[in-house]
């Protein structure tokens, strides 16, 4: 069903005679809206929770914000306009102000300003919009929904909703997720009106809308729904169980993540830690180097949020396919074989030291390990260790606390590192095998070249032998070894990895429980 709203034009700009009357109309409308918001807040508190209800608290502050209120009353007084006109005009000004901010979250706040402005206009009799009266179950298609409207949706009738504008950052999207209503927000495209009343499917996970789906699509979606239901079952069945084979071999299952926002996944999928935290994102999408303080804030958050579980943070892996302008790196013919990762860090020690210092400081707030990428030689490891020791000394001199037992490990992702893993094992506390690069460098197959996809086969005996050699050499020196590349989640290899004696597998979060089930059956 398509629910269209009348275009929201500015109320007529007619000169009013009685300015005082308009002022008091505004004040009355403000009081009414405030009371409504208090009721909504109470409803949200009861139905969803404190965190989500807080937005209606903010809306109350917005309706009474002095800049907003003075803007409106001044406009009424100086231009002799109606209360409705002044509210619409000033509301739009504030909404525009947020829409122009450089941060996506703040841009999304313009929707909150429009929400309260509209509520005032409804009370002032300018907009008629007081809930939907639905008689049957529908997928609602609307230009946009405000948080208050979303909360008031009749959950027994609304199967899901699609909005044309709005962002996934909006409180509407957040409320929909919390309420468990499938929603696709901000399609940017108006749906054809003749589709109203016909069959449609929405996929809130992928943000897809299917209009008039054929039988095959319908079947596919039903299967997908069943699959998801099954996955949910895994979640409940496998959660809390140890990852252990029938023969009693224990495997540690961790997750690979690259954003602070993904941290809750550790708990959600019952992972035993973070096996690979890619630290690049803090450096990407900005104009200059992050400060030590910025890095520290992020790392501390990682450390503190895992509640005693370990996070292995990989030091900077910039270069190759991940380029950042402010590093001023020269263009390279073969970036995958060029100045990247640990090579760059050793050549530009100031950058490296700052990251290590932030990591060490954060280690006082939880369990952190440091992992160096792209190692090819013993000398690199020794140089990096010397820098780490120097940074530790400085911290001691500054009386800043850190974990003196912090573990240092390396990625085994070059054939060179795998072949000399016996020598490297004597220098570090753990290995983590990065299969993606190991495949690329062992088989001389460019990962970026789609034509060669089939050749980039992790099942190639050369790759598997290097993995086995690495595991054996690690165990001879008494250190543990994990696999953190994509192959770690490849269920066709799990039995082999377990037989080789791998200690840890680190995978994308939604694969953890699938692997646990598989390993428990081995």
């Amino acid at each position: 069903m398509v629910y269209e709203r009348d275009a929201e034009e500015l109320p007529a700009n007619k000169k009013v005679e009685n300015v005082q009357a308009e002022l008091s109309r505004f004040v009355q409308a403000q009081q009414t809206v405030l009371q409504n918001l208090q009721k909504l807040q109470a409803k949200a508190l009861q139905e969803i929770g404190e965190e989500e209800a807080a937005i209606f608290d903010v809306h109350q502050l917005m309706v009474t914000d002095l800049d907003y209120v003075e803007g409106i009353t001044n406009l009424i007084k100086t231009s002799n306009v109606s209360a409705a006109y002044a509210v619409a005009k000033i509301g739009e000004q504030f909404a525009q102000q947020f829409a122009k901010m450089d941060d996506e979250y703040m841009q999304g706040r313009s929707a909150d300003v429009r929400d309260i402005t509209n509520q005032l206009l409804v009370v002032l009799g300018e907009h008629r919009r007081n809930g939907l009266h639905l008689t049957k179950s529908v997928i609602l298609v609307v230009d946009d929904l405000s948080p208050s409207e979303t909360l008031c949706l009749d959950k027994s009738k609304v199967l899901g909703f699609v909005t044309i504008s709005g962002s996934t950052n909006s409180h509407t999207a957040i409320l929909a997720r919390t309420l468990g209503i499938p929603a696709v927000v901000g399609t940017g495209r108006v749906l054809p009106e003749e589709q109203s009343g016909t069959l449609a499917i929405i996929d809130g996970n992928k943000g897809l809308v299917y209009l008039d789906p054929d039988l095959a699509t319908q079947q596919q979606v039903v299967e997908q729904q069943e699959e998801e239901a099954k996955n949910k079952e895994y979640l409940t069945q496998m959660k809390g169980l140890p990852t252990i084979t029938q023969a009693g071999q224990k495997i540690k299952l961790c997750v690979n993540i690259g954003q602070v926002e993904e941290l809750p996944m550790v708990e959600r999928y019952d992972a035993e830690g973070v096996g690979l935290f890619r630290s690049e994102f803090i450096y990407l999408g900005r104009k200059y180097f992050p400060s030590e303080e910025e890095l520290f804030v992020v790392y501390k958050q990682v450390a503190a949020s895992l509640k005693g579980k370990k996070a292995i943070i990989r030091t900077l892996d910039i270069g190759a396919d991940k380029k950042v302008a402010y590093f001023n790196l020269p263009a390279e013919e073969n970036p995958a074989l060029g100045l990247r990762a640990i090579r760059l860090c050793l050549m530009r020690p100031r950058i490296f030291e700052m990251q290590l210092r932030a990591l060490l400081r954060a280690s006082a707030y939880g369990k952190i390990s440091i992992m160096l990428p792209m190692i090819i030689s013993l000398a690199e490891v020794q140089q990096a260790k010397a820098i780490l020791e120097r940074v530790k000394e400085n911290l001691r001199a500054d009386k800043i606390k850190f974990d003196p037992e912090i573990e240092l490990g390396i990625m085994i992702e070059t054939p060179a590192a795998a072949v000399i893993s016996d020598l490297l094992a004597a220098e570090v506390d753990f290995f983590s095998i990065g299969t993606n690069d190991l495949v690329q460098y062992t088989l001389a197959v460019d990962r970026q070249n789609a034509v060669l996809n089939e050749l980039a086969d992790v099942h190639h005996p050369a790759v598997l032998r290097l993995i086995e050699l690495t595991i054996q050499n690690a165990h001879k020196q008494g250190i543990w070894v994990g696999i953190c590349g994509e192959a770690a989640a490849d269920t066709s290899l799990t039995a082999q990895f377990v037989a080789m004696g791998v200690d840890e597998l680190s995978v994308v979060p939604n694969q953890v429980l699938t692997l646990r089930k598989l390993i428990r059956e081995l």
Partner: protein
């Protein structure tokens, strides 16, 4: 007049909810309260102004309070920053 500084730890910066809490806290006191960040400043009793500062994680904010109950106001605002941001 009292001044103090604080580095924002919350990864989302001063977003809507903590902005609301700050404004409510500042509003309980008679003293004027101003937040400075990024060469901009905002009246801590005005929610739109505080949000418009666009304060992000890792940024340093300076708060200035002035008035008869400035000591209590400073303490309340500081503890509000510490526990929410």
């Amino acid at each position: 007049m009292i001044k103090f500084s604080f580095v924002i730890q919350d990864k989302q910066g001063i977003h809507a909810r903590p902005a609301g809490i700050l404004v409510k806290t500042a509003g309980q006191f008679k003293s004027a309260a101003t937040m400075h960040c990024n060469n901009k400043s905002a009246d801590l009793k005005r929610v739109f102004a505080v949000m418009s500062l666009g304060v992000k994680a890792g940024m340093l904010v300076t708060v200035q309070v002035e008035g008869e109950d400035e000591v209590a106001a400073k303490a309340a605002i500081e503890s509000c920053l510490k526990s929410n941001l």
